[in-house]
Subunit: 341 residues, 3 copies
């Protein structure tokens, strides 16, 4: 592919040699003369001036880079993400069903579906076109999966779960296991059967070994475009909106509601029925008390989670605390001296 | 099933139409005329008055609901859990061994056992009657599993683990992997072989992708009726009592001892050899220092974990801290003004 | 094996009966007359005096244990670890490929490799001699695995990952899944394709259900001899040095660099690009802010992570806070009384 062709695909403005052959994308540090990279910020632009990189994505207002082939775009990093997708498409396995897969007769596989070795697909499953199901995946009865999804090895989908289009599920993630519900009792805990299910929207990506539990009676939902990292726990009856981002090892207790475009850090913990408003931001490691409402605007931090400024103010006060205690002792001594006895 | 038959099974007192046909259980909000729900609390009872629900489980002393079919029981939620089990029994796969399963000749499967596709069962394994082993489960040499258990897809049980009756293991959980033991050394860490095993009592349920490690020399144990949520980590040599509840993503370091009926929140972390007394309560996200004893009575919270009242007092003091520092500055200024120089 | 033979293998000094037959290793508490145990510390030595244990590993300067067969060594616990390895070697499955495994023609398996049931091995994979691949493991295209490794059931290795010699991967762990990278955008989050890979050194052990993500463009690395516990998350582009120990449920965000011999507790969270210096110690549950450098020397604790002494000082001040607030109120009242109005 030439630099000129890439510029055209991106709708960017080319400077330099449009015929330059580009075969790979790379990071700026190790880029070779047949590779494309991106540079934003002064340091990266300085490094770019030294590099032998074949073509460079830069911002529209970046300084001139004499003698280089550059493509000017509004968002170089985003343009680079697209170049990566074009130059390095994922290595799609060919369509077809591997001979070792066990597929129920009542399952319906649309055109172009690829089913790997040792896959199990139960009754009444429906899988949309061009979806890839890798080795050892297990799909329960009545599950529906949209088109162009990709399920990596050892994913488990329990019965009845609904999955949209272009969903990516990484290895070992589990959708639709029973929610954690019991009637606690001195004579033993009675299981509260979990009869609901899980609905995953379009363009969702879920990381390795993450778990999304089925609802008790209704639906646990993850909205279109939301992205969950590895080992995220979503308990029964949570409703996660659209384009939500949740980093690794975060856990949501039962019935949490997360608004669209919320950003949630890693290792966050939420109690039951927390409500995170659309666009809200939760810092990594924070703990949100049950039934709490987290508003948009200022990020929330700490445990119990509170507005960042308040958290920082408390932290600063805490840092000064040992010194303050000493000063207080002096004041007390002083007051005692003053006191007529 | 009729409302009268349900009342009889529950030992409840029926008011209204005993012949009312009930085909499903539902939540109160979406309940239809052939469905049963439960209502506790004023708000739910008000909602019930508006609902078309076919039959309602209420407390024995709940107000009259004129013109409705109700069943009065001591604990409506617990009765509802039982109704769910009766009206919606899990969809049990038929007994038998799938042709793709690999079963050692020396394994003994009792009557009614169901083995799914791509299961691996090693030598000298013994599985009790009516137990379900789903797709892709791997059972190591010498494992014993009781009757009426349910192992969901991709569960891994290492060699020698002992599992009681009616145990539920959700997808991806791992029992009996090596405990994390090394002899640390400047020349490299020498593995301390883990020769013990894991013993799981009756009526235990363990969530998806949870890990229970084998003991170094003795047994890691989980007592009868205990329930672990998703992604719980139980290190080597832990002894968990009966009817203990542990929420998601909690981690127990080596050699912790948890008394019967303890309640442990999510994302709790325990150091080595913590002892949690019977009936103790640990709030979500708290961190317990090694060798600490957590008594029953008041719940424990925070890091390092301490009695809830103490934690709350500290938190309140912390909130007032910035204001207090300002006041202290004023006092210091005041003292300075007073000081004769 | 006799006590004399064991003493010779360990290079230890035997006292008592060199012909004593030892068939098993055990903990001191339950040791029998044909078993070997170790004893360090006064309490253990007192217990040893009462025990029927057949042979005892003790420190070189331990007091005399009359009438007992003991082996004196510099480090009894380390010597015991070696005895465990000798007396209880892991039960290695025989070499060969199970008939249900699916192996690409272009894969190269060296001598002595053991491949279990339902394993999937893709194109151009290379596996070194005497490596064990257990049931249901999935190995992606172009992966290389060294000699004498052990992959427990259901491990997933994505394409292109490089694994050294004598590496142990426990059940359900996932190497090489996509890093969590998106271009966030109001119109949806664009996936940043993850084209790098993962390189695992020699003698590494990784716990059950842990996840090590592939780098965006370069390599995520884990150095020789490092040990990761269960459910550890290593994000894209992390570089972990040699002989690092990371306890369970710890999470590293993207681009963290961990120096050799660092010790990292359980449930630790690190922000992006944290640098932990060689030999540094991070206490369990601590949270490290992005870009922070953690030096060697004093352990770091708490959130945000800080030197242990500072953390403890803050904690002590915090404990005194409610009392201090009362004293401050008294001082204020006193100051008011003093003030002429």
């Amino acid at each position: 592919m030439t630099a000129g062709e890439i510029a055209e695909l991106l709708g960017g403005r080319l400077e330099g040699d449009p015929g330059r052959e580009i075969s790979q994308a790379s990071d700026l540090r190790s880029a070779q003369s047949d590779q494309i990279a991106f540079a934003t910020g002064d340091e990266a632009l300085r490094m770019a001036a030294q590099s032998v990189v074949g073509c460079l994505l830069v911002a529209e207002n970046a300084p001139a880079l004499n003698g280089r082939t550059v493509i000017r775009v509004p968002k170089p990093r985003k343009a680079f993400a697209r170049v990566l997708q074009i130059l390095h498409p994922p290595d799609r396995p060919p369509p077809g069903v591997h001979s070792t897969a066990v597929i129920a007769e009542s399952a319906v596989l649309d055109e172009g579906v690829s089913i790997g070795p040792h896959v199990t697909i139960a009754d009444a499953v429906r899988i949309g076109e061009d979806t890839v199901i890798e080795a050892g995946v297990s799909i329960g009865r009545g599950v529906t999966i949209g088109s162009r999804c990709w399920l990596y090895p050892r994913v488990v989908v329990y019965h009845g779960v609904e999955i949209g289009d272009r969903v990516i599920l990484h290895a070992g993630c589990v959708l639709g296991a029973d929610g954690f519900g019991y009637e606690l009792d001195s004579s033993g805990h009675e299981k509260f059967p979990q009869l609901g299910s899980v609905r995953i929207g379009n363009d969702v990506e879920i990381g390795s070994n993450s778990c999304v539990d089925r609802a008790a009676l209704a639906m646990t939902e993850i909205g279109d475009g939301s992205k969950l990292d590895n080992m995220v726990h979503v308990a029964h009856n949570c409703i996660i909106g659209k384009h939500v981002v949740i980093a690794a090892q975060t856990g949501l207790s039962g019935g949490c509601i997360i608004g669209d475009n919320a950003l949630i850090g890693g290792q966050v913990g939420m109690g039951d029925k927390v409500r995170v408003e659309a666009g809200a931001i939760l810092g990594s490691g924070c703990g949100v008390l049950p039934h709490k409402v987290v508003p948009a605007g200022e990020p929330y931090w700490g445990t119990p989670a509170r507005p960042l400024r308040e958290y920082l103010k408390g932290l600063a006060a805490l840092r000064r605390l040992p010194k303050v205690l000493r000063e207080l002792r002096e004041l007390q001594a002083h007051a005692k001296d003053d006191t007529p006895e």
